[in-house]
């Protein structure tokens, strides 16, 4: 018997299975769809949280106050050294600019501040940290090193806020991971139970096939095809539901958290990658779930 003939027979058997138990199949597809939708939603929310954390993390800035009368050339050397050795971007803020900023931030004092002919504020370097240096410990070490440089009067890296932000970010990432794992385990459990239920309804058919001489592979293949189809269909339904949700709710959600996102962030709640993950994940779940579920009914 040719492979195409065998496959044809397996597909016919799978189609018969669907035709004769449409309700059980609908339940299996819906369960897969709901499970994958939940997973997809968890991934979308995680993506949103990550974008917010990246944005917040991206604003970690170390301000290096220079000694009075530090020559511009020395300041530039320090700035370049920082950019080369630490990374990120460093900007030299002259004393006059600092004074203007202060006047903008405290308008009630602008008259008083205008009275200064020379800015009383020191020149500073504002260094926006790269991702690798957004950790409180790393920042503390960097700050200690910079404090030893003769031209540096003081270093401010916002110790309290960075430490708190870092703790919040860690908590959110851990929470996201734990939530994702819980949803994943629940998904696999529910899908396996549902597929087992669907196959249980056809245990008699399996028994008869085995009694007339069917090999395990002969019995298994149609169920695996069914599982694959159910998984793909469930994945497609989940993707459709997520796209609909994103279309309806994304403007509001993004409006709520907009201030926490960097202006250059183009956030997609449902990315093409997530779409592929849902379809692939659905197919994999259906495939593995049905293979495992059918196994316990093969002993006849």
């Amino acid at each position: 018997m040719s492979i195409s003939s065998k496959l044809g027979s397996a597909f016919r058997s799978a189609a018969q299975g669907v035709r004769h138990g449409p309700f059980v199949h609908a339940v299996a597809v819906l369960t897969l769809a709901i499970a994958l939708f939940t997973l997809g939603l968890a991934r979308s929310v995680d993506g949103l949280v990550q974008a917010m954390l990246d944005t917040l993390g991206g604003s970690v800035t170390v301000t290096i106050y220079l000694e009075d009368q530090t020559p511009d050339a020395d300041a530039q050397v320090l700035l370049k050294t920082l950019e080369e050795q630490v990374g990120g971007t460093a900007v030299l803020v002259p004393p006059r600019t600092s004074l203007e900023r202060l006047a903008r931030e405290l308008p009630e004092l602008s008259g008083l501040l205008d009275a200064f002919e020379d800015s009383p504020l020191p020149a500073s370097i504002e260094h926006t940290m790269p991702e690798s240096h957004r950790d409180p410990e790393v920042l503390r070490r960097l700050s200690d090193v910079l404090a030893q440089v003769p031209a540096v009067a003081d270093v401010d890296w916002g110790e309290e806020s960075v430490t708190r932000l870092s703790a919040i970010a860690r908590g959110m990432r851990l929470g996201g991971l734990v939530t994702f794992l819980i949803v994943l385990v629940a998904t696999v459990t529910v899908v396996a139970a549902t597929l087992q239920l669907a196959i249980y309804a056809r245990r008699e058919e399996i028994e008869i096939q085995k009694l007339v001489g069917a090999t395990d592979r002969f019995v298994r293949v149609p169920f695996v095809i069914e599982g694959l189809m159910q998984g793909l269909l469930g994945g497609a339904l989940a993707l459709g539901a997520l796209l609909l949700l994103a279309h309806l709710a994304a403007p509001r959600i993004l409006g709520l958290v907009d201030f926490l996102l960097a202006t250059e962030t183009r956030l997609q709640l449902v990315s093409p990658r997530l779409g592929l993950e849902l379809l692939g994940g659905g197919a994999l779940l259906g495939l593995c779930g049905s293979m495992l579920a059918v196994r316990r009914f093969l002993r006849v």
Partner: protein, 231 residues
């Protein structure tokens, strides 16, 4: 063809269902396996087609020791043994044709060839006109004939029938027994488990009697019929 040496079967915690059975059935024989309900007839048949494993002893089927057969080899053994189940074991949502074709699907017979062979088999059991009907719409006798057709469609060398007339009226019983007789005439080894004494006297075949899991008699059919008539 079928040989059993000191075969016993027991389930944990229960007394043995079969105890030290020794038996030989030659190729082309027609044998009745009889005894009261629960004597172990069905279990003996199950051991032969590997639906159960013997606790002790050896079972040779066509020269092959099925008591020690690998699990992966069981399907290939079953393809040579047609089984008529007491409870039919038909798929209620598949047509008569599909039910019978199942045996050929398993063998990988191409669809068009399978359809032709199924049609010929259904003609032989007198059900060609009902090939598109679902089993629940058939009478008990018709369902039993479908089961026989399914068991025979791949020309097995052995046919095991477990109480094939158990649920049938006398007219249908004769119909089924004639069909099994016809199968035997064509060279198939037939083993029929039954507790119906009237079948034994009517058909006068070798009869093996099992009681409480022990083989208590192995008689020639004619002698048995004379003995029963002389009671």
């Amino acid at each position: 063809m079928i040989e059993l040496f000191h075969v016993s079967k027991a389930y944990p915690g229960d007394p043995p269902v079969l105890h030290d059975i020794n038996l030989r059935i030659d190729k082309g024989e027609f044998v009745f396996l009889t005894g009261p309900s629960g004597a172990g007839k069905s279990t003996l048949l199950k051991l032969i087609f590997c639906a159960e494993q013997a606790t002790r002893g050896q079972i040779l089927v066509g020269g092959r020791n099925v008591a020690r057969i690998r699990e992966s080899a069981v399907p290939f053994l079953r393809r040579n043994i047609g089984v008529v189940f007491q409870d039919f074991k038909l798929l209620p949502h598949r047509t008569v044709e599909d039910n019978v074709a199942l045996t050929l699907d398993v063998l990988g017979v191409p669809r068009h060839e399978a359809r032709e062979r199924v049609y010929q088999m259904l003609k032989r059991v007198g059900l060609a006109h009902k090939r598109d009907v679902l089993p629940p719409r058939l009478s008990g006798g018709e369902q039993q004939r479908v089961v026989i057709a399914r068991a025979l469609v791949n020309d097995p060398t052995i046919l095991l029938a477990d109480e094939p007339t158990g649920n049938l009226d006398p007219a249908r019983t004769l119909e089924i027994m004639d069909l099994l007789g016809d199968v035997h005439v064509r060279g198939t080894t037939v083993v029929v488990a039954t507790h119906d004494i009237s079948l034994l006297t009517r058909y006068q075949r070798r009869t093996i009697r099992i009681e409480a899991g022990r083989l208590v008699a192995d008689e020639d059919g004619v002698a048995l019929a004379r003995r029963l008539a002389g009671r």
